[in-house]
């Protein structure tokens, strides 16, 4: 026990002495949490909207007024021809073009039907889909208004059946994206910091040749590993804590559930990540290699964690792959506990899986660590 404490002390001193690294380790992640959380939104607003109005009647103007009134659309330009509008889309100045054909109003009055054309830049398919929904909602509500007027004037018309949707958004009724993203990004930062630091640490000693010096001392394998990894565990918990405070005070993210549950889960989770880092260290010879492998796994883990994109939308084989992804469980749990107040029974499955991984990873890491080369 004493030996471990000495190593821990030594490691802490080494971290603290490095004045250049400390701000990078502590400030960089938290700065990113503060800034980047504002960037992560799938909301579609400020749509660069433009139109070509070949009709120029009361009806077409009334329709365009509805677009002007909507908060989703920024009207960029009124183009005299479709060709010019297309050019602007090519240059990236506009994203949506509404084309109102000649005779829009007269068709509507005479034939009781009129056509509109909408052109959308669909390179980002999901965004284009949402833009299309917004455009159609406005047109539909305009249509609805015309219909209501018609019924009022002519009582003979049969009323069609109307099924109404009443939406209700629980836990986040303002649909605030930060509420969803801040806990997720926090998980990511904690993971990256602890994985990169622990992954590079032992291999660094290998590369520098100082590991051999330690190997000839009477320190036992497990003492050395615990001593090495404990400071990073503390660091991870520290970043988590500051991150949670930032989430609460600056982003006003609700913490509905039991915060002890988050700490319980995190304390085991960080062990999994440290075990991975150690494992990577054991199988590499240089920091460069270690960092590459760590980066490779982190990128894949992030992409397949459900942090940015939903897991349910993945094909089944990919969903099965996510079962081996520790980040997935942490993202799920921190969101559930913080935002919905899920209790231990709700997250027990994730908790036991992560405990299993902690044993597995650290077991493998200790087993593959060789004191002699």
């Amino acid at each position: 026990m004493k030996t471990i404490i000495y190593i821990v002390q030594k490691e802490f001193k080494q971290i603290m002495r490095n004045k250049g690294m400390l701000p990078i380790i502590l400030v960089l992640p938290l700065l990113q949490l503060l800034i980047l959380s504002n960037a992560a939104t799938f909301e579609v607003k400020n749509i660069q909207f433009s139109y070509v109005n070949y009709d120029k009647t009361t009806s077409s103007n009334a329709l365009l007024d509805r677009f002007r009134a909507s908060t989703y659309f920024n009207i960029v330009e009124d183009f005299p021809s479709k060709k010019l509008a297309d050019d602007a889309m090519e240059k990236g100045r506009v994203e949506v073009i509404l084309e109102i054909p000649r005779n829009f109003e007269s068709n509507l009055v005479k034939n009781e039907t009129a056509d509109l054309a909408v052109y959308i830049n669909a390179i980002d398919g999901a965004k284009a889909g949402v833009q299309n929904v917004y455009v159609n909602q406005i047109i539909r509500s305009y249509n609805q208004e015309i219909l209501i007027n018609a019924y009022q004037q002519n009582q003979q018309l049969t009323r069609p059946i109307n099924i109404e949707i009443i939406p209700s958004f629980w836990y986040n009724n303002t649909l605030n994206y930060k509420t969803y993203m801040v806990p997720g990004i926090l998980v990511l930062l904690v993971t990256m910091i602890t994985l990169f630091l622990s992954g590079m640490n032992i291999v660094r000693e290998k590369e520098m040749g100082t590991l051999e010096q330690i190997n000839v001392t009477p320190i036992k394998k497990y003492q050395f590993i615990i001593g090495k990894l404990f400071p990073f565990w503390v660091l991870g918990m520290l970043i988590l804590t500051v991150g949670l405070i930032i989430a609460k005070l600056i982003f006003a993210i609700p913490i509905i559930g039991n915060i002890a549950l988050i700490y319980l889960f995190s304390s085991v989770y960080i062990l999994v990540i440290l075990g991975m880092g150690l494992l990577i260290s054991n199988f590499t010879d240089t920091q460069q290699q270690a960092m590459f492998i760590a980066w490779f796994f982190v990128v894949i883990f992030i992409l397949m964690s459900g942090l940015f994109t939903p897991i349910e939308s993945m094909p089944i084989w990919a969903q099965n792959m996510t079962l081996f992804n520790p980040i997935r469980y942490f993202v799920e749990v921190i969101r559930m506990v913080m935002l919905k107040g899920s209790g231990f029974s709700d997250i027990s499955r994730q908790f036991f899986i992560i405990c299993f991984y902690a044993f597995l990873m650290n077991g493998l890491a200790v087993w593959s660590y060789k004191k002699t080369n």
Partner: protein
């Protein structure tokens, strides 16, 4: 010159000897493209929902069947009381509950009106919103079926046309993004690490006292990574064309030129990082922790830039990746030429020069 070539050769050997790194360097782009192409999408489908049917009549059964038949939803379970809603949400699997009012069919017949409540777990606002929109669309179709025969007057019919990506494939958006992230990180990270490695191990001093001029030493170290990055770019483009059918509408030549320009910009950034960082660890933390998230989040790769708050939109301008993604989308998907892309190209050239000047000013020939 001969000395320089010899030095570059040595660097190449150095990199290629490390099999593991090679494997990852070339395996990474392939793995990422495959994941983005096949597995990762920000579309929403197969969402688990639950039903609370307080009416249980022919109409509600019909609607439930319609919803179940759509690819967007899987009906996970029926629940019997309002209290259970909270319970299923807390377990996390069910994302929304559809509540049919009592006497749904009766109301529909008597008053021609019925209402369905869609309660969604809005911790994920995007999914919640999309679920609401999708259910709305399904019910609108159903409503139209019911209303067949009743000619309602004054119909405005909208035709939507999706430019550049008619099938709304998400891989079209992700390919330029993945390519940018990989080129940026491989170029910037690799160079910064490999130069600081020499510093840390003390071998840089040996190189600096060699008859090679310091800037040739740097160019020599950077050169293999230009080569590696170009191969990566080619692999990504070939995969996206042949596996995912992403078109390259514009000029391949321009695409190649712009890619090399971006690689050089990233490499100069890597050199700049190496002039600041003293240890590999510091270089790694700056290039990985400092570049990875901003490049992923502030470049328009995953999240639309136009929806971000204004200050972030301004900040995004200093991220080289943003401009390269615009260029890639322009050339590959829109088929535009340099006439439309001169501004973005100019910005990248300026950034490369700027990083170079800064590195030269920072660079200390004598290491302390």
């Amino acid at each position: 010159m001969k000395r320089f070539i010899g030095f570059v050769k040595k660097e190449f050997y150095h990199i290629f000897r490390d099999r593991r790194s090679m494997f990852i360097l070339f395996g990474m782009p392939i793995a990422q493209i495959m994941l983005f192409g096949f597995a990762i999408t920000n579309e929403i489908n197969n969402v688990e929902i639950a039903i609370l049917d307080k009416s249980k009549d022919a109409e509600t059964t019909m609607i439930i069947n319609k919803i179940n038949a759509s690819k967007y939803f899987n009906i996970e379970n029926e629940i019997i009381s309002e209290n259970q809603i909270e319970e299923v949400f807390k377990k996390g699997k069910v994302k929304a509950v559809l509540v049919f009012e009592k006497d749904f069919a009766k109301n529909l017949q008597a008053q021609k009106k019925g209402s369905i409540q869609v309660i969604s777990d809005a911790t994920d606002p995007n999914t919640a919103n999309t679920i609401t929109n999708y259910t709305q669309a399904i019910l609108q179709n159903y409503q139209q079926e019911l209303n067949q025969g009743i000619e309602s007057p004054y119909q405005i019919k909208t035709q939507s046309q999706m430019y550049y990506n008619p099938e709304l494939k998400s891989v079209f958006n992700f390919v330029p993004g993945v390519m940018t992230v990989i080129l940026m990180l491989v170029s910037a990270m690799m160079t910064s690490i490999s130069i600081t490695r020499e510093k840390e191990l003390g071998t840089m001093e040996i190189l600096l006292v060699s008859p090679l001029k310091p800037f040739l030493v740097i160019i020599g170290k950077v050169f293999p990574y230009i080569f590696l990055s170009i191969i990566n770019a080619i692999v990504i483009i070939v995969l996206s064309i042949f596996v995912f059918n992403v078109p390259v509408v514009g000029s391949l030549f321009l695409l190649g030129f712009e890619s090399i320009l971006f690689i050089i910009t990233s490499l100069t950034l890597g050199v700049l990082i190496s002039t600041i960082a003293q240890t590999q660890q510091a270089a790694l933390m700056i290039s990985l922790m400092g570049l990875m998230l901003p490049v992923i989040l502030l470049s328009g790769f995953i999240f639309p830039l136009s929806s971000m708050p204004l200050p972030l939109q301004v900040i995004s301008n200093i991220i080289p990746a943003k401009w390269f993604i615009i260029i890639l989308k322009g050339i590959m998907l829109k088929g535009v030429g340099i006439a439309q892309l001169w501004k973005e190209t100019g910005i990248l050239i300026f950034m490369a020069l700027f990083f170079t000047v800064l590195s030269i000013r920072n660079y200390k020939i004598r290491l302390e």
